[in-house]
């Protein structure tokens, strides 16, 4: 998602939390000894300071970074505070993790939360001392007299402060005065993660709980007709069965903003293994839908759509050149991709007569609450969502399909139910990154790209169609729009029913591969060094007006390209069979450039090193941020090397890590990350580093071997 799409993303998220009644108890454990100074801050008379992480943690570090922003302004010692994950709380805004937006959207609100509470503590002290507040200051959990003769702890002031009005616009620190923001802090759950005590959603056990595994229809739109449970019933621990049909609840992909579960037969048991075995031994008769997509056939239809009438997304000048010095006319192909977070989908729910309590590894608590209320037919204020630390998410847990089936089962059996997805269902019944075919016809004259015509064909993610006047899969502002005088973007939508969703990097995971590959092809066609070609393309103007409402800071793109090239040793000689490739992008507000260095020997590829330069504005927690960049790069590498979901007859063929592979240690390159030192507000970080990985690698393969890779995953 680009900056321009952020508003739409926020709007969609806001829709999901409309109509809520204020005051639902959403924030986790309300400690009786503590007082609430803000929905995210509690201080106790015993000296406890509890800060709640507003947005879900899924490995991206926000359970650490968001409380850091609060603690900075609240002026408390980081080591002395307790940090908890907030449950769904309708009083809070932007309570979702997605679109690389968590830090960006909350940089001001988190600091304001801390600053408001600090102001309330100062006011309480001023009242108690009968002194003007201007004579008072704070110092790591104490209100102090500027003259140094009085010192009152926050603990002593908490009760009085909590009763005071919340200031509207508390003064915020200048970035230059930060003590905590910008320093490296370990993950707040480090201790529990390394001693095995960290509780993920899958680890939860409630009294009287049943374990459920659903034998799901292989086709996401199919339905169970009948089942024979003779063998399943014989498994010790199996308790009962239930037909789960999504037709009663809107189908799987008909309601894109509230996606629903895949139908099947649920097996309820006293333990997970019995439920898994029971589900395996069920004999189910399915009714398959008429629509049976095939991913190979779909790719052919995408390419055929190049010749059909396509939507004009953007048109500048005369895009098709007739007599260029150098030109290319090439087609790139990108596969469907799955998320496959390490913790498979799961959820635990306790539904009583008119209330639902849910424990879920969700990225989107407000949408989870909306979906639960909808399928149960109860008001949202009777829904409680506890947010668990997610064992990875990458966009998959944005949806509520793994929650809605669980609440229906709990309602049906009148007991708490934990639904566990076998890995095979997690792979098959995902919301996939769209596959696409993209054709680029472009020309270079005098060392500069003069013409660029890019056609994208895919089946669309319905939820994001017509976003900002562009289809979701190519925006009218995307690079190189604004940098090439004659440019045409086309989009051709090909109907299909394979469920699509948000995948880390969104459409950029596809488009940056196409754009960075085509730029490299043009550089080589013109006989120009690719880094020099990129720098020339970006130009010397600081700002480029890409669209009326979108001014692009080209100098920051230029800087990351120069830094990545410099740090990679670009231009220094490499032995035979090795090569470097560059790519760059602007994604979720961040500028990223990457250089890959590869070795190709005996037709085998090894990615030796990725050098990354990234400008994402102010970095809150540098060591957490490096972790995010490294993770994004490895995920991009996995997609480049292995990622491909195949659909035949409407059924996903891959099922587990043997046929939907991910990188292991032996695949992992040396990763060298350089942040550009900035103090302007934070920008998106979680997704930007992923899209440039694949084209950096394929461009490096070209440099090493002369072979051009235009289809992912890479096959030499």
């Amino acid at each position: 998602m680009t900056e321009l799409n952020r508003r739409e993303f926020v709007r969609l998220c806001a829709i999901t939390s409309m109509g809520l009644v204020i005051g639902v108890p959403g924030v986790g454990r309300a400690e009786s000894s503590t007082r609430e100074l803000h929905p995210l801050i509690r201080i106790g008379s015993d000296g406890r300071v509890i800060i709640y992480a507003q947005n879900p943690e899924m490995g991206q570090g926000v359970k650490t970074a968001l409380p850091m922003m609060i603690a900075e302004e609240l002026d408390v010692d980081w080591a002395s505070i307790e940090i908890e994950q907030a449950g769904w709380d309708p009083r809070l805004e932007n309570q979702f993790s997605g679109g690389s937006l968590t830090v960006r959207l909350n940089y001001n609100t988190m600091r304001q939360a801390g600053a408001s509470a600090r102001a309330m503590l100062l006011n309480a002290a001023a009242n108690q001392l009968n002194r003007p507040v201007a004579e008072l200051d704070t110092e790591s959990g104490y209100v102090v007299d500027r003259n140094g003769d009085t010192r009152i702890s926050y603990a002593e002031l908490a009760e009085a402060a909590a009763a005071l009005p919340v200031p509207d616009a508390p003064e915020l620190k200048d970035a230059g005065n930060f003590k905590l923001i910008g320093t490296s802090v370990a993950d707040v759950d480090m201790e529990q993660i390394t001693n095995g005590q960290q509780q993920f959603s899958l680890d939860l056990k409630l009294p009287d709980m049943l374990y459920a595994v659903v034998r799901r229809c292989p086709h996401g739109d199919g339905q169970p007709v009948s089942f024979d449970a003779t063998d399943a019933r014989a498994v010790p621990g199996v308790v009962d069965f239930h037909l789960l049909r999504n037709v009663d609840h809107g189908g799987r992909i008909i309601l894109p903003n509230c996606p629903n579960f895949v139908s099947g037969v649920a097996v309820l048991a006293t333990n997970t293994w019995a439920a898994l075995e029971g589900a395996r031994k069920l004999d189910v008769e399915w009714k398959m839908p008429d629509s049976r997509d095939d991913s190979d056939d779909l790719m052919r239809r995408f390419e055929e759509a190049f010749d059909a009438e396509a939507e004009i997304v953007r048109s500048d000048g005369e895009p098709d050149s007739t007599d260029a010095e150098h030109s290319i006319d090439v087609t790139y192909r990108l596969p469907f991709l799955a998320h496959v977070p390490m913790e498979p989908m799961n959820c635990t729910a306790r539904v009583d007569s008119d209330r639902a309590e849910v424990w879920a590894p969700t990225q989107n608590p407000p949408m989870a609450a909306e979906a639960v209320a909808k399928v149960l037919g109860i008001p949202q204020d009777d829904v409680t969502i506890h947010v668990a630390r997610s064992g990875g998410a990458f966009g998959r847990r944005y949806y509520a399909d793994f929650i809605t089936d669980t609440v229906l089962l709990s309602k049906q059996f009148g007991r708490p139910v934990k639904t566990v997805w076998p890995r095979e269902d997690d792979v098959r019944h995902d919301y996939f990154r769209p596959a696409s075919a993209q054709r680029v016809r472009a020309a270079v004259n005098d060392g500069t790209i003069t013409h660029w015509h890019q056609k994208v064909a895919s089946h669309p993610r319905e939820v994001y169609l017509e976003r900002d006047g562009s289809p979701a899969e190519i925006g009218n502002y995307e690079f190189p729009a604004g940098f090439v005088p004659n440019l045409l973007f086309n989009y051709a939508a090909v109907p299909a029913r394979i469920p699509l969703g948000q995948w880390r990097g969104t459409e950029h995971s596809s488009n940056v591969f196409v754009v960075s590959s085509a730029i490299d092809e043009l550089a080589h066609a013109a006989g120009i060094d690719p880094v020099a070609f990129w720098l020339n393309l970006v130009g010397d103007e600081q700002y480029v007006q890409v669209r009326e409402d979108f001014r692009f800071d080209a100098s920051r793109l230029k800087e990351v390209i120069a830094v990545a090239a410099d740090k990679s040793g670009w231009g220094t000689p490499l032995p035979e069979g090795r090569g470097r490739g560059i790519s760059a992008s602007y994604n979720q507000g961040a500028w990223v450039a990457e250089v890959a260095e590869v070795t190709v020997q005996n037709n085998r590829l090894k990615v030796d090193k990725i050098s990354c330069a990234i400008d994402c504005g102010l970095v809150i927690n540098p060591q957490g941020a490096v972790n995010q960049v490294e993770g994004g790069i490895v995920e991009g590498l996995a997609a480049a090397l292995y990622g491909k979901i195949t659909v035949k007859d409407g059924i996903v063929q891959e099922s587990n890590f043997h046929d939907y592979r991910f990188c292991r240690m032996r695949d992992a390159p040396l990763i060298d990350v350089h942040f550009i030192d900035r103090s302007d507000a934070p920008r998106g970080l979680g997704e930007g580093p992923l899209p440039p990985v694949a084209p950096a690698i394929t461009n490096a393969i070209f440099a090493a071997t002369g072979k051009r890779i235009r289809e992912l995953p890479i096959r030499l």
Binding site: M58, A186, I193, E343, S390, V634
Partner: protein, 156 residues
């Protein structure tokens, strides 16, 4: 009834003999530090030690564990002070953290066999998947744990 030693104490499991050790640990013994990732022995999130060797609990039927000694993350050290656990914290390895208990158990078993592994050894022998891609830090932490082990528990 299948009897075995679990983190130094005797344990008896009354359920079916084909139940994988993973689910005995998680659902019966309440030791949830051992994770379910794939159910087919491919990802390593369920790695435990059986008689001191790294083993993938999701494909170990409990019958095959009879009479043997199982160590899980909860029993690796009394206070999370094992050199691998310390190294993991110092290197700030985790992203989501879900696979890390398995990573730690796999690394601890490897270091017992191979106290000073080379990068090449780590590439070949450390095969657990980290879906978040924390491999740079896992590698660094394995090397650091190797140093800590040589220095002894007090670090000197």
């Amino acid at each position: 009834m299948i009897r075995f030693t679990l983190n130094g104490e005797s344990y008896a499991f009354p359920g079916p003999e084909n139940t994988p050790l993973l689910w005995v640990l998680r659902d019966s013994a309440g030791l949830t530090g051992t994770k379910y990732g794939c159910g087919t022995g491919m990802c390593g999130a369920c790695t435990v030690h059986v008689d001191g060797e790294a083993s993938r609990a999701c494909i170990s039927p409990i019958k095959a564990i009879e009479g043997r000694s199982v160590t899980t993350i909860e029993g690796l050290s009394p206070d999370a002070s094992h050199p691998v656990q310390r190294a993991w914290r110092e290197a700030d390895v985790p992203q989501c953290g879900y696979c890390q208990t398995g990573q730690i158990m796999a690394a601890a078993a490897m270091l017992k066999r191979l106290p000073s592994p080379s990068d090449d050894d780590i590439d070949r022998q450390h095969t657990n998947i980290c879906r978040c891609g924390a491999y740079s830090r896992i590698r660094k932490a394995i090397h650091h744990a190797s140093e800590l082990s040589r220095k002894g528990p007090t670090g000197d």
